[in-house]
Protein backbone atom coordinates (compact mmCIF):
# COMPACT_ATOMS: atom_id res chain seq x y z
CA UNK A 1 0.00 0.00 0.00
CA UNK A 2 1.28 3.42 -0.96
CA UNK A 3 1.40 6.15 1.70
CA UNK A 4 1.42 9.84 0.85
CA UNK A 5 4.82 11.38 1.67
CA UNK A 6 4.57 14.19 4.25
CA UNK A 7 6.20 17.51 3.21
CA UNK A 8 9.64 18.22 4.69
CA UNK A 9 9.69 20.22 7.93
CA UNK A 10 11.59 23.21 6.46
CA UNK A 11 8.81 23.56 3.87
CA UNK A 12 6.17 23.92 6.59
CA UNK A 13 8.17 26.65 8.29
CA UNK A 14 9.15 28.46 5.12
CA UNK A 15 5.66 28.93 3.65
CA UNK A 16 4.23 31.17 6.43
CA UNK A 17 7.50 33.11 6.57
CA UNK A 18 7.40 33.77 2.84
CA UNK A 19 3.78 34.90 2.99
CA UNK A 20 4.63 37.14 5.98
CA UNK A 21 7.54 38.74 4.10
CA UNK A 22 5.35 39.13 1.01
CA UNK A 23 2.64 40.82 3.06
CA UNK A 24 5.19 43.07 4.74
CA UNK A 25 6.62 44.02 1.36
CA UNK A 26 3.16 44.71 -0.03
CA UNK A 27 2.24 46.97 2.91
CA UNK A 28 5.59 48.77 2.67
CA UNK A 29 5.09 49.45 -1.04
CA UNK A 30 1.52 50.63 -0.42
CA UNK A 31 2.67 52.86 2.44
CA UNK A 32 5.50 54.44 0.42
CA UNK A 33 3.27 54.91 -2.61
CA UNK A 34 0.44 56.47 -0.56
CA UNK A 35 2.89 58.76 1.26
CA UNK A 36 4.38 59.88 -2.05
CA UNK A 37 0.90 60.50 -3.42
CA UNK A 38 -0.06 62.58 -0.37
CA UNK A 39 3.04 64.80 -0.73
CA UNK A 40 2.61 65.17 -4.50
CA UNK A 41 -0.98 66.20 -3.83
CA UNK A 42 0.20 68.91 -1.42
CA UNK A 43 2.80 70.22 -3.92
CA UNK A 44 0.18 70.30 -6.68
CA UNK A 45 -2.23 72.21 -4.43
CA UNK A 46 0.50 74.70 -3.47
CA UNK A 47 1.34 75.26 -7.15
CA UNK A 48 -2.36 75.79 -7.93
CA UNK A 49 -2.92 78.09 -4.96
CA UNK A 50 -0.40 80.70 -6.13
CA UNK A 51 -1.71 80.73 -9.70
CA UNK A 52 -4.49 83.19 -10.71
CA UNK A 53 -7.44 83.51 -10.74
CA UNK A 54 -7.68 84.10 -6.97
CA UNK A 55 -11.14 83.28 -5.68
CA UNK A 56 -11.41 85.23 -2.41
CA UNK A 57 -15.09 84.37 -2.15
CA UNK A 58 -14.25 80.63 -2.01
CA UNK A 59 -11.66 81.22 0.69
CA UNK A 60 -14.10 83.26 2.82
CA UNK A 61 -16.75 80.59 2.39
CA UNK A 62 -14.35 77.93 3.68
CA UNK A 63 -13.19 80.14 6.56
CA UNK A 64 -16.84 80.44 7.53
CA UNK A 65 -17.41 76.69 7.21
CA UNK A 66 -14.26 75.51 9.00
CA UNK A 67 -13.92 78.39 11.45
CA UNK A 68 -17.19 80.09 12.32
CA UNK A 69 -19.21 76.91 12.30
CA UNK A 70 -16.68 75.16 14.58
CA UNK A 71 -16.83 77.96 17.12
CA UNK A 72 -19.56 76.48 19.29
CA UNK A 73 -17.85 73.11 19.71
CA UNK A 74 -14.51 74.83 20.39
CA UNK A 75 -16.02 77.05 23.11
CA UNK A 76 -17.80 74.12 24.72
CA UNK A 77 -14.67 71.95 24.70
CA UNK A 78 -12.51 74.81 25.98
CA UNK A 79 -14.80 75.64 28.94
CA UNK A 80 -14.91 72.05 30.16
CA UNK A 81 -11.22 71.37 29.47
CA UNK A 82 -10.30 74.45 31.56
CA UNK A 83 -12.72 73.47 34.32
CA UNK A 84 -11.52 69.89 34.64
CA UNK A 85 -7.89 71.00 34.47
CA UNK A 86 -8.47 73.42 37.34
CA UNK A 87 -10.30 70.82 39.39
CA UNK A 88 -7.67 68.10 38.91
CA UNK A 89 -4.79 70.58 39.20
CA UNK A 90 -6.11 72.00 42.47
CA UNK A 91 -6.26 68.61 44.19
CA UNK A 92 -2.80 67.66 42.90
CA UNK A 93 -1.19 70.99 43.83
CA UNK A 94 -2.82 71.00 47.28
CA UNK A 95 -0.82 67.87 48.14
CA UNK A 96 2.36 69.88 47.63
CA UNK A 97 0.99 73.05 49.16
CA UNK A 98 1.36 74.77 45.83
CA UNK A 99 -2.29 75.64 45.02
CA UNK A 100 -1.16 79.20 44.27
CA UNK A 101 0.34 77.84 41.03
CA UNK A 102 -3.06 76.69 39.73
CA UNK A 103 -3.43 79.67 37.36
CA UNK A 104 -0.06 79.13 35.62
CA UNK A 105 -0.59 75.34 35.52
CA UNK A 106 -3.96 75.70 33.77
CA UNK A 107 -2.73 78.44 31.44
CA UNK A 108 0.50 76.71 30.38
CA UNK A 109 -1.22 73.35 29.83
CA UNK A 110 -3.85 74.99 27.67
CA UNK A 111 -1.66 77.41 25.74
CA UNK A 112 1.20 74.99 25.02
CA UNK A 113 -0.68 71.72 24.65
CA UNK A 114 -4.41 71.33 25.08
CA UNK A 115 -5.46 74.41 23.10
CA UNK A 116 -3.89 73.47 19.76
CA UNK A 117 -4.35 69.70 20.14
CA UNK A 118 -8.00 69.77 21.20
CA UNK A 119 -8.82 72.48 18.65
CA UNK A 120 -7.17 70.34 15.96
CA UNK A 121 -9.08 67.24 17.03
CA UNK A 122 -12.40 69.10 17.26
CA UNK A 123 -11.95 70.66 13.81
CA UNK A 124 -11.05 67.21 12.46
CA UNK A 125 -14.26 65.76 13.86
CA UNK A 126 -16.53 68.59 12.83
CA UNK A 127 -15.10 70.07 9.64
CA UNK A 128 -12.46 67.55 8.48
CA UNK A 129 -14.94 64.71 8.16
CA UNK A 130 -17.33 67.01 6.28
CA UNK A 131 -14.54 68.10 3.90
CA UNK A 132 -13.64 64.48 3.11
CA UNK A 133 -17.28 63.47 2.64
CA UNK A 134 -18.13 66.51 0.49
CA UNK A 135 -15.18 66.02 -1.87
CA UNK A 136 -15.77 62.26 -1.91
CA UNK A 137 -19.37 62.74 -3.00
CA UNK A 138 -18.28 65.27 -5.61
CA UNK A 139 -15.78 62.71 -6.91
CA UNK A 140 -18.21 59.79 -7.18
CA UNK A 141 -20.95 61.99 -8.67
CA UNK A 142 -18.45 63.15 -11.34
CA UNK A 143 -18.71 66.79 -10.27
CA UNK A 144 -14.91 67.00 -10.07
CA UNK A 145 -14.67 65.60 -13.61
CA UNK A 146 -17.26 68.19 -14.68
CA UNK A 147 -15.03 70.97 -13.34
CA UNK A 148 -12.07 69.61 -15.30
CA UNK A 149 -14.10 69.45 -18.50
CA UNK A 150 -15.02 73.12 -17.99
CA UNK A 151 -11.29 73.90 -17.88
CA UNK A 152 -11.39 74.73 -14.14
CA UNK A 153 -8.59 73.15 -12.06
CA UNK A 154 -10.35 71.29 -9.20
CA UNK A 155 -7.26 71.51 -6.99
CA UNK A 156 -7.34 75.28 -7.34
CA UNK A 157 -11.09 75.66 -7.09
CA UNK A 158 -11.93 73.08 -4.43
CA UNK A 159 -8.84 72.07 -2.47
CA UNK A 160 -6.60 75.16 -2.21
CA UNK A 161 -9.24 77.37 -0.49
CA UNK A 162 -9.95 74.63 2.05
CA UNK A 163 -6.29 74.16 2.97
CA UNK A 164 -5.67 77.92 3.14
CA UNK A 165 -8.76 78.32 5.32
CA UNK A 166 -7.40 75.63 7.66
CA UNK A 167 -4.10 77.50 7.96
CA UNK A 168 -5.88 80.77 8.79
CA UNK A 169 -8.63 79.44 11.01
CA UNK A 170 -6.95 76.99 13.37
CA UNK A 171 -4.63 79.54 15.04
CA UNK A 172 -7.66 81.82 15.60
CA UNK A 173 -9.71 78.96 17.05
CA UNK A 174 -6.75 77.99 19.24
CA UNK A 175 -6.48 81.52 20.65
CA UNK A 176 -10.22 81.47 21.39
CA UNK A 177 -9.82 78.03 23.00
CA UNK A 178 -6.95 79.32 25.15
CA UNK A 179 -8.90 82.33 26.42
CA UNK A 180 -12.10 80.38 27.10
CA UNK A 181 -10.15 77.51 28.69
CA UNK A 182 -8.37 79.86 31.09
CA UNK A 183 -11.71 81.46 31.97
CA UNK A 184 -13.17 77.98 32.56
CA UNK A 185 -10.33 77.30 34.98
CA UNK A 186 -11.02 80.65 36.64
CA UNK A 187 -14.66 79.69 37.19
CA UNK A 188 -13.67 76.56 39.10
CA UNK A 189 -10.70 78.07 40.93
CA UNK A 190 -12.36 81.30 42.06
CA UNK A 191 -16.08 80.52 42.18
CA UNK A 192 -15.99 76.92 43.37
CA UNK A 193 -12.67 76.52 45.18
CA UNK A 194 -12.69 80.10 46.54
CA UNK A 195 -9.18 80.95 45.36
CA UNK A 196 -8.30 84.60 45.05
CA UNK A 197 -8.87 85.92 41.55
CA UNK A 198 -5.71 88.05 41.85
CA UNK A 199 -3.57 85.01 42.65
CA UNK A 200 -5.03 83.12 39.69
CA UNK A 201 -4.37 85.85 37.11
CA UNK A 202 -1.12 87.30 38.51
CA UNK A 203 0.41 83.80 38.42
CA UNK A 204 -0.53 83.52 34.75
CA UNK A 205 0.85 86.96 33.95
CA UNK A 206 4.20 86.27 35.58
CA UNK A 207 4.66 82.73 34.20
CA UNK A 208 3.36 82.68 30.63
CA UNK A 209 5.87 84.13 28.15
CA UNK A 210 5.60 84.91 24.45
CA UNK A 211 7.50 81.73 23.57
CA UNK A 212 4.66 79.63 25.05
CA UNK A 213 2.09 81.42 22.93
CA UNK A 214 4.24 81.13 19.78
CA UNK A 215 4.74 77.39 20.40
CA UNK A 216 0.98 76.95 20.64
CA UNK A 217 0.41 78.93 17.47
CA UNK A 218 3.06 76.98 15.52
CA UNK A 219 1.28 73.81 16.54
CA UNK A 220 -2.09 75.27 15.55
CA UNK A 221 -0.85 76.19 12.06
CA UNK A 222 0.68 72.72 11.63
CA UNK A 223 -2.52 71.00 12.75
CA UNK A 224 -4.58 73.24 10.47
CA UNK A 225 -2.46 72.06 7.57
CA UNK A 226 -2.64 68.40 8.61
CA UNK A 227 -6.43 68.34 9.04
CA UNK A 228 -7.31 70.05 5.76
CA UNK A 229 -4.54 68.38 3.75
CA UNK A 230 -5.32 64.81 4.84
CA UNK A 231 -9.10 65.23 4.73
CA UNK A 232 -9.15 66.84 1.28
CA UNK A 233 -6.70 64.22 -0.03
CA UNK A 234 -8.83 61.33 1.20
CA UNK A 235 -12.03 62.87 -0.16
CA UNK A 236 -10.49 63.88 -3.49
CA UNK A 237 -9.35 60.33 -4.24
CA UNK A 238 -12.44 58.55 -2.86
CA UNK A 239 -13.76 55.77 -5.04
CA UNK A 240 -16.23 52.89 -5.19
CA UNK A 241 -19.50 54.63 -4.40
CA UNK A 242 -21.04 55.38 -1.04
CA UNK A 243 -18.92 52.77 0.73
CA UNK A 244 -15.77 54.38 -0.67
CA UNK A 245 -16.86 57.80 0.64
CA UNK A 246 -17.55 56.39 4.10
CA UNK A 247 -14.14 54.67 4.12
CA UNK A 248 -12.45 57.86 2.95
CA UNK A 249 -14.17 59.88 5.68
CA UNK A 250 -13.26 57.40 8.42
CA UNK A 251 -9.63 57.08 7.34
CA UNK A 252 -9.37 60.88 6.97
CA UNK A 253 -10.50 61.43 10.57
CA UNK A 254 -8.36 58.61 12.00
CA UNK A 255 -5.21 59.57 10.08
CA UNK A 256 -5.59 63.30 10.81
CA UNK A 257 -6.09 62.64 14.55
CA UNK A 258 -3.12 60.28 14.77
CA UNK A 259 -0.90 62.65 12.78
CA UNK A 260 -1.90 65.56 15.03
CA UNK A 261 -0.71 63.64 18.10
CA UNK A 262 2.51 62.44 16.43
CA UNK A 263 3.25 65.90 15.07
CA UNK A 264 2.48 67.40 18.50
CA UNK A 265 5.18 65.24 20.10
CA UNK A 266 7.82 66.20 17.53
CA UNK A 267 7.03 69.92 17.62
CA UNK A 268 7.09 69.87 21.42
CA UNK A 269 10.44 68.05 21.51
CA UNK A 270 11.95 70.52 19.03
CA UNK A 271 10.55 73.72 20.60
CA UNK A 272 10.80 72.78 24.28
Amino acid sequence: MLTKASPPVHCCLLAPMISFVRLLGQYTIEFVSETGKIFLFLFAVAANAVRPPYRLHNLLKQIHFIGVRSLFVIILTAVFAGMVLALQGYYTLTRFGAEGLLGPAVALSIIRELGPVLSGLMVTGRAGSALAAELGIMRIREQIDALEVMGIAPLQFLVAPRIMAGLVVLPILTVIFDVIGILGGYLIAVQLLKMSSGVYFSGIESTVVMRDIVTGLIKAVSFGLIVTWICTFKGYYAKRGAEGVSQATTSAVVLSSVLILICDYFITSVLL
Binding site: E142, Q143, D145, A146, V149, M150, G151, I152, A153, F157
Partner: protein, 341 residues
Protein backbone atom coordinates in the same frame (compact mmCIF):
# COMPACT_ATOMS: atom_id res chain seq x y z
CA UNK B 1 -15.53 64.76 -68.85
CA UNK B 2 -17.94 65.97 -66.17
CA UNK B 3 -18.37 63.69 -63.11
CA UNK B 4 -21.46 61.49 -62.97
CA UNK B 5 -23.79 62.78 -60.27
CA UNK B 6 -26.11 60.34 -58.55
CA UNK B 7 -29.57 62.02 -58.73
CA UNK B 8 -30.64 60.39 -55.41
CA UNK B 9 -27.56 61.76 -53.71
CA UNK B 10 -28.11 65.20 -55.24
CA UNK B 11 -31.71 65.25 -54.03
CA UNK B 12 -30.68 63.95 -50.58
CA UNK B 13 -28.02 66.62 -50.28
CA UNK B 14 -30.52 69.32 -51.29
CA UNK B 15 -32.99 68.06 -48.69
CA UNK B 16 -30.31 67.86 -46.04
CA UNK B 17 -28.87 71.33 -46.63
CA UNK B 18 -28.33 72.95 -43.19
CA UNK B 19 -30.65 75.97 -42.90
CA UNK B 20 -31.84 78.21 -40.09
CA UNK B 21 -34.79 76.60 -38.35
CA UNK B 22 -37.35 79.12 -39.62
CA UNK B 23 -36.19 78.66 -43.21
CA UNK B 24 -36.22 74.89 -42.82
CA UNK B 25 -39.81 74.99 -41.51
CA UNK B 26 -40.87 77.02 -44.56
CA UNK B 27 -38.97 74.71 -46.95
CA UNK B 28 -40.69 71.68 -45.38
CA UNK B 29 -44.10 73.40 -45.62
CA UNK B 30 -44.63 73.32 -41.84
CA UNK B 31 -45.39 77.06 -41.89
CA UNK B 32 -45.88 79.64 -44.64
CA UNK B 33 -43.23 82.21 -45.50
CA UNK B 34 -45.63 84.98 -44.46
CA UNK B 35 -46.00 83.40 -41.02
CA UNK B 36 -42.24 83.15 -40.58
CA UNK B 37 -41.73 86.77 -41.62
CA UNK B 38 -44.46 87.86 -39.27
CA UNK B 39 -42.79 85.94 -36.42
CA UNK B 40 -39.41 87.50 -37.23
CA UNK B 41 -40.95 90.98 -37.32
CA UNK B 42 -42.79 90.32 -34.04
CA UNK B 43 -39.55 89.21 -32.40
CA UNK B 44 -37.74 92.31 -33.67
CA UNK B 45 -40.42 94.57 -32.13
CA UNK B 46 -40.02 93.03 -28.66
CA UNK B 47 -38.11 94.59 -25.80
CA UNK B 48 -34.38 93.81 -25.66
CA UNK B 49 -34.90 90.97 -23.20
CA UNK B 50 -37.08 89.08 -25.67
CA UNK B 51 -35.15 89.73 -28.85
CA UNK B 52 -33.02 86.65 -28.24
CA UNK B 53 -36.13 84.45 -28.03
CA UNK B 54 -35.99 81.38 -30.25
CA UNK B 55 -37.87 81.60 -33.53
CA UNK B 56 -39.46 78.20 -32.79
CA UNK B 57 -40.79 79.48 -29.46
CA UNK B 58 -42.09 82.67 -31.11
CA UNK B 59 -43.93 80.60 -33.74
CA UNK B 60 -45.45 78.41 -31.00
CA UNK B 61 -46.47 81.49 -28.96
CA UNK B 62 -48.11 82.99 -32.07
CA UNK B 63 -50.03 79.75 -32.64
CA UNK B 64 -48.55 79.03 -36.10
CA UNK B 65 -47.18 75.64 -35.08
CA UNK B 66 -47.50 73.33 -32.10
CA UNK B 67 -44.47 72.20 -30.12
CA UNK B 68 -44.81 68.50 -31.12
CA UNK B 69 -45.23 69.52 -34.78
CA UNK B 70 -42.11 71.66 -34.61
CA UNK B 71 -40.07 68.82 -33.10
CA UNK B 72 -41.49 66.37 -35.62
CA UNK B 73 -40.43 68.65 -38.44
CA UNK B 74 -36.89 68.77 -37.04
CA UNK B 75 -36.84 64.99 -36.69
CA UNK B 76 -37.81 64.57 -40.35
CA UNK B 77 -35.04 66.94 -41.30
CA UNK B 78 -32.55 64.85 -39.30
CA UNK B 79 -33.79 61.75 -41.13
CA UNK B 80 -33.09 63.44 -44.48
CA UNK B 81 -29.62 64.33 -43.30
CA UNK B 82 -28.99 60.77 -42.13
CA UNK B 83 -29.93 59.45 -45.57
CA UNK B 84 -27.63 62.00 -47.25
CA UNK B 85 -24.78 61.03 -44.92
CA UNK B 86 -25.41 57.35 -45.65
CA UNK B 87 -25.13 58.03 -49.36
CA UNK B 88 -22.09 60.33 -49.55
CA UNK B 89 -20.30 59.79 -46.17
CA UNK B 90 -18.64 63.18 -46.47
CA UNK B 91 -17.55 64.53 -43.10
CA UNK B 92 -14.38 65.98 -41.67
CA UNK B 93 -12.88 64.12 -38.71
CA UNK B 94 -12.79 66.14 -35.48
CA UNK B 95 -11.64 63.50 -32.95
CA UNK B 96 -9.31 60.63 -33.77
CA UNK B 97 -8.00 57.75 -31.64
CA UNK B 98 -4.89 55.98 -32.90
CA UNK B 99 -3.90 52.71 -31.22
CA UNK B 100 -5.24 53.77 -27.81
CA UNK B 101 -4.74 51.27 -25.00
CA UNK B 102 -5.90 51.61 -21.41
CA UNK B 103 -5.71 49.17 -18.53
CA UNK B 104 -7.75 49.77 -15.37
CA UNK B 105 -7.45 47.55 -12.26
CA UNK B 106 -5.50 44.98 -14.29
CA UNK B 107 -8.18 44.77 -17.01
CA UNK B 108 -7.51 46.00 -20.54
CA UNK B 109 -10.45 48.34 -21.16
CA UNK B 110 -9.29 49.81 -24.46
CA UNK B 111 -7.31 47.49 -26.68
CA UNK B 112 -5.55 49.25 -29.56
CA UNK B 113 -8.58 51.40 -30.26
CA UNK B 114 -8.72 53.29 -33.56
CA UNK B 115 -11.75 55.47 -34.16
CA UNK B 116 -12.82 58.66 -35.85
CA UNK B 117 -15.62 61.03 -34.91
CA UNK B 118 -17.10 63.03 -37.81
CA UNK B 119 -17.44 66.78 -37.31
CA UNK B 120 -20.89 68.44 -37.15
CA UNK B 121 -22.72 65.14 -36.97
CA UNK B 122 -24.45 63.20 -34.21
CA UNK B 123 -22.39 60.10 -33.42
CA UNK B 124 -23.65 57.34 -31.12
CA UNK B 125 -21.28 54.95 -29.38
CA UNK B 126 -23.02 51.71 -28.50
CA UNK B 127 -21.94 48.37 -27.11
CA UNK B 128 -22.43 46.08 -24.15
CA UNK B 129 -21.73 47.36 -20.63
CA UNK B 130 -18.04 47.26 -19.74
CA UNK B 131 -17.03 47.57 -23.37
CA UNK B 132 -15.07 50.79 -22.77
CA UNK B 133 -17.61 53.41 -23.91
CA UNK B 134 -17.39 55.78 -20.93
CA UNK B 135 -13.61 55.37 -20.80
CA UNK B 136 -13.47 56.29 -24.49
CA UNK B 137 -15.53 59.42 -23.84
CA UNK B 138 -13.27 60.44 -20.93
CA UNK B 139 -10.21 60.05 -23.18
CA UNK B 140 -11.73 62.45 -25.71
CA UNK B 141 -11.68 65.31 -23.23
CA UNK B 142 -8.44 64.35 -21.49
CA UNK B 143 -10.04 63.16 -18.23
CA UNK B 144 -8.08 59.94 -18.74
CA UNK B 145 -4.73 59.48 -20.43
CA UNK B 146 -4.03 56.48 -22.62
CA UNK B 147 -1.30 54.00 -21.59
CA UNK B 148 -0.41 53.81 -25.28
CA UNK B 149 -1.55 55.52 -28.47
CA UNK B 150 -2.79 59.06 -28.98
CA UNK B 151 -6.06 60.98 -28.95
CA UNK B 152 -6.29 63.86 -31.42
CA UNK B 153 -8.78 66.72 -31.25
CA UNK B 154 -8.52 68.44 -34.60
CA UNK B 155 -4.77 68.53 -35.17
CA UNK B 156 -3.82 68.60 -31.49
CA UNK B 157 -2.51 65.47 -29.76
CA UNK B 158 -3.94 65.62 -26.21
CA UNK B 159 -1.09 63.61 -24.68
CA UNK B 160 1.50 66.20 -25.72
CA UNK B 161 -0.30 69.31 -24.51
CA UNK B 162 0.58 71.31 -21.41
CA UNK B 163 -2.13 71.78 -18.76
CA UNK B 164 -2.88 75.26 -20.09
CA UNK B 165 -3.15 74.03 -23.69
CA UNK B 166 -5.29 71.09 -22.57
CA UNK B 167 -7.65 73.47 -20.76
CA UNK B 168 -7.89 75.53 -23.95
CA UNK B 169 -8.85 72.39 -25.90
CA UNK B 170 -11.33 71.44 -23.16
CA UNK B 171 -13.14 74.74 -23.64
CA UNK B 172 -14.14 73.43 -27.09
CA UNK B 173 -16.05 70.67 -25.27
CA UNK B 174 -19.03 70.29 -23.00
CA UNK B 175 -19.99 67.07 -21.35
CA UNK B 176 -23.23 65.75 -19.97
CA UNK B 177 -22.40 63.14 -17.34
CA UNK B 178 -24.49 60.07 -16.63
CA UNK B 179 -25.95 61.50 -13.40
CA UNK B 180 -25.85 65.09 -14.61
CA UNK B 181 -23.02 66.11 -12.23
CA UNK B 182 -24.93 69.23 -11.17
CA UNK B 183 -23.52 70.93 -8.07
CA UNK B 184 -25.85 70.14 -5.16
CA UNK B 185 -25.14 73.41 -3.33
CA UNK B 186 -26.31 75.59 -6.25
CA UNK B 187 -29.74 76.08 -7.78
CA UNK B 188 -30.32 75.31 -11.46
CA UNK B 189 -29.69 78.90 -12.54
CA UNK B 190 -26.34 79.07 -10.75
CA UNK B 191 -25.39 75.62 -12.02
CA UNK B 192 -25.98 76.67 -15.62
CA UNK B 193 -24.30 80.04 -15.10
CA UNK B 194 -21.31 78.47 -13.34
CA UNK B 195 -19.03 77.81 -16.38
CA UNK B 196 -19.72 81.32 -17.73
CA UNK B 197 -18.98 82.98 -14.37
CA UNK B 198 -15.78 80.99 -13.88
CA UNK B 199 -14.29 80.95 -17.35
CA UNK B 200 -15.48 84.15 -19.04
CA UNK B 201 -15.53 87.85 -18.23
CA UNK B 202 -19.14 88.34 -19.36
CA UNK B 203 -21.31 90.81 -17.44
CA UNK B 204 -23.79 89.25 -15.01
CA UNK B 205 -26.74 90.60 -17.06
CA UNK B 206 -25.43 88.87 -20.20
CA UNK B 207 -24.83 85.65 -18.25
CA UNK B 208 -28.39 85.71 -16.94
CA UNK B 209 -29.76 86.33 -20.43
CA UNK B 210 -27.82 83.38 -21.85
CA UNK B 211 -28.81 81.12 -18.97
CA UNK B 212 -32.50 81.98 -19.33
CA UNK B 213 -32.30 81.27 -23.08
CA UNK B 214 -30.61 77.91 -22.47
CA UNK B 215 -33.16 76.95 -19.83
CA UNK B 216 -35.94 77.81 -22.29
CA UNK B 217 -34.27 75.69 -24.95
CA UNK B 218 -34.43 72.65 -22.67
CA UNK B 219 -37.96 73.53 -21.51
CA UNK B 220 -36.90 74.47 -18.00
CA UNK B 221 -37.87 78.14 -18.23
CA UNK B 222 -38.86 79.46 -14.80
CA UNK B 223 -37.24 76.53 -12.97
CA UNK B 224 -33.94 78.30 -12.28
CA UNK B 225 -34.62 78.67 -8.56
CA UNK B 226 -34.96 74.91 -7.97
CA UNK B 227 -32.14 72.84 -6.50
CA UNK B 228 -30.98 69.60 -8.19
CA UNK B 229 -32.53 67.40 -5.48
CA UNK B 230 -35.93 69.01 -6.17
CA UNK B 231 -35.85 67.92 -9.84
CA UNK B 232 -36.90 64.64 -11.45
CA UNK B 233 -34.30 62.53 -13.30
CA UNK B 234 -35.35 63.89 -16.69
CA UNK B 235 -35.30 67.50 -15.48
CA UNK B 236 -31.83 67.01 -13.99
CA UNK B 237 -30.59 65.69 -17.33
CA UNK B 238 -32.13 68.68 -19.12
CA UNK B 239 -30.57 71.10 -16.63
CA UNK B 240 -27.20 69.43 -17.19
CA UNK B 241 -27.76 69.71 -20.93
CA UNK B 242 -28.46 73.44 -20.51
CA UNK B 243 -25.16 73.77 -18.64
CA UNK B 244 -23.43 71.93 -21.48
CA UNK B 245 -25.00 74.26 -24.08
CA UNK B 246 -24.47 77.57 -22.34
CA UNK B 247 -20.77 77.83 -23.18
CA UNK B 248 -21.54 77.37 -26.89
CA UNK B 249 -19.01 74.56 -27.37
CA UNK B 250 -17.99 72.93 -30.65
CA UNK B 251 -18.33 69.40 -29.33
CA UNK B 252 -20.85 67.98 -26.86
CA UNK B 253 -20.23 64.62 -25.20
CA UNK B 254 -23.29 62.89 -23.77
CA UNK B 255 -22.74 59.96 -21.43
CA UNK B 256 -25.94 57.91 -21.50
CA UNK B 257 -28.34 60.89 -21.57
CA UNK B 258 -31.41 58.65 -21.38
CA UNK B 259 -30.23 56.08 -18.82
CA UNK B 260 -32.81 55.38 -16.14
CA UNK B 261 -35.57 57.42 -17.77
CA UNK B 262 -39.02 56.28 -18.85
CA UNK B 263 -39.70 55.86 -22.62
CA UNK B 264 -41.56 59.19 -22.91
CA UNK B 265 -38.81 61.19 -21.23
CA UNK B 266 -36.26 59.21 -23.25
CA UNK B 267 -38.05 60.28 -26.42
CA UNK B 268 -38.21 63.86 -25.18
CA UNK B 269 -34.44 63.87 -24.57
CA UNK B 270 -33.84 62.51 -28.09
CA UNK B 271 -36.00 65.29 -29.55
CA UNK B 272 -34.09 67.78 -27.46
CA UNK B 273 -30.74 66.53 -28.76
CA UNK B 274 -32.10 66.72 -32.32
CA UNK B 275 -33.43 70.24 -31.68
CA UNK B 276 -30.06 71.29 -30.23
CA UNK B 277 -28.19 69.87 -33.20
CA UNK B 278 -30.48 71.56 -35.73
CA UNK B 279 -30.03 74.95 -34.09
CA UNK B 280 -26.32 74.77 -33.36
CA UNK B 281 -24.73 72.17 -35.67
CA UNK B 282 -22.34 71.18 -32.88
CA UNK B 283 -20.58 67.84 -33.07
CA UNK B 284 -22.48 65.56 -30.69
CA UNK B 285 -21.03 62.28 -29.39
CA UNK B 286 -23.47 60.22 -27.39
CA UNK B 287 -23.12 56.97 -25.51
CA UNK B 288 -26.44 55.19 -25.54
CA UNK B 289 -28.11 51.94 -24.61
CA UNK B 290 -31.38 53.08 -26.21
CA UNK B 291 -31.08 50.49 -28.98
CA UNK B 292 -32.61 50.40 -31.58
CA UNK B 293 -34.19 53.86 -31.01
CA UNK B 294 -30.82 55.61 -31.12
CA UNK B 295 -30.32 54.63 -34.79
CA UNK B 296 -33.10 57.08 -35.71
CA UNK B 297 -31.39 59.95 -33.92
CA UNK B 298 -27.80 59.88 -35.15
CA UNK B 299 -25.83 60.09 -38.37
CA UNK B 300 -22.95 57.86 -37.39
CA UNK B 301 -22.70 54.82 -35.10
CA UNK B 302 -19.63 53.22 -33.54
CA UNK B 303 -19.99 49.78 -31.97
CA UNK B 304 -17.43 49.11 -29.24
CA UNK B 305 -16.79 45.57 -28.11
CA UNK B 306 -14.06 44.44 -25.73
CA UNK B 307 -12.20 47.70 -26.07
CA UNK B 308 -12.11 47.68 -29.85
CA UNK B 309 -14.25 49.10 -32.64
CA UNK B 310 -16.41 46.30 -33.95
CA UNK B 311 -18.09 48.47 -36.57
CA UNK B 312 -18.24 52.14 -37.49
CA UNK B 313 -20.36 53.84 -40.14
CA UNK B 314 -23.62 55.61 -40.97
CA UNK B 315 -26.46 54.60 -38.68
CA UNK B 316 -28.48 53.09 -41.53
CA UNK B 317 -25.59 50.78 -42.41
CA UNK B 318 -24.94 49.62 -38.83
CA UNK B 319 -28.67 49.20 -38.14
CA UNK B 320 -28.91 46.50 -40.80
CA UNK B 321 -25.43 45.01 -40.33
CA UNK B 322 -25.04 41.27 -40.90
CA UNK B 323 -22.43 40.96 -38.14
CA UNK B 324 -23.80 38.39 -35.64
CA UNK B 325 -22.50 40.32 -32.60
CA UNK B 326 -24.16 43.56 -33.73
CA UNK B 327 -27.36 41.71 -34.64
CA UNK B 328 -27.42 40.10 -31.21
CA UNK B 329 -26.78 43.43 -29.48
CA UNK B 330 -29.60 45.15 -31.39
CA UNK B 331 -32.08 42.32 -30.87
CA UNK B 332 -31.06 41.70 -27.26
CA UNK B 333 -30.98 37.90 -27.74
CA UNK B 334 -29.25 35.87 -25.07
CA UNK B 335 -28.16 33.38 -27.70
CA UNK B 336 -25.22 34.54 -29.80
CA UNK B 337 -21.54 35.40 -29.76
CA UNK B 338 -21.97 37.63 -26.66
CA UNK B 339 -22.29 35.29 -23.68
CA UNK B 340 -23.53 37.07 -20.57
CA UNK B 341 -25.10 34.16 -18.64
Amino acid sequence: MSPVIDPDLQQANQDAEPLPIGERLVRNACISRAQMEEALAFRARQQDDHKGALIGKTLIDMGYITHPALLDCLFHQLTRERVAYHLDRQAETIIRFTGVEKTLDGRKVLDHLDLEIPANKITAIIGISGGGKSVTLKHMVGLMKPDRGEVWVGDQPLGQLSTRELNRVRRRFSMLFQEGALFDSMNVLDNVAFPLRETTSLAESEIRRRVETCLQEVNLGGMGHKYPDELSGGMRKRAALARALVTQPEIILLDEPTAGLDPIIENAIHYLICDTFMRTRYTIVCISHAVPAIFDWCHHVIVLHRGRVLASGPSLEIRYSADPTIKQFISGDLDGPIQVI
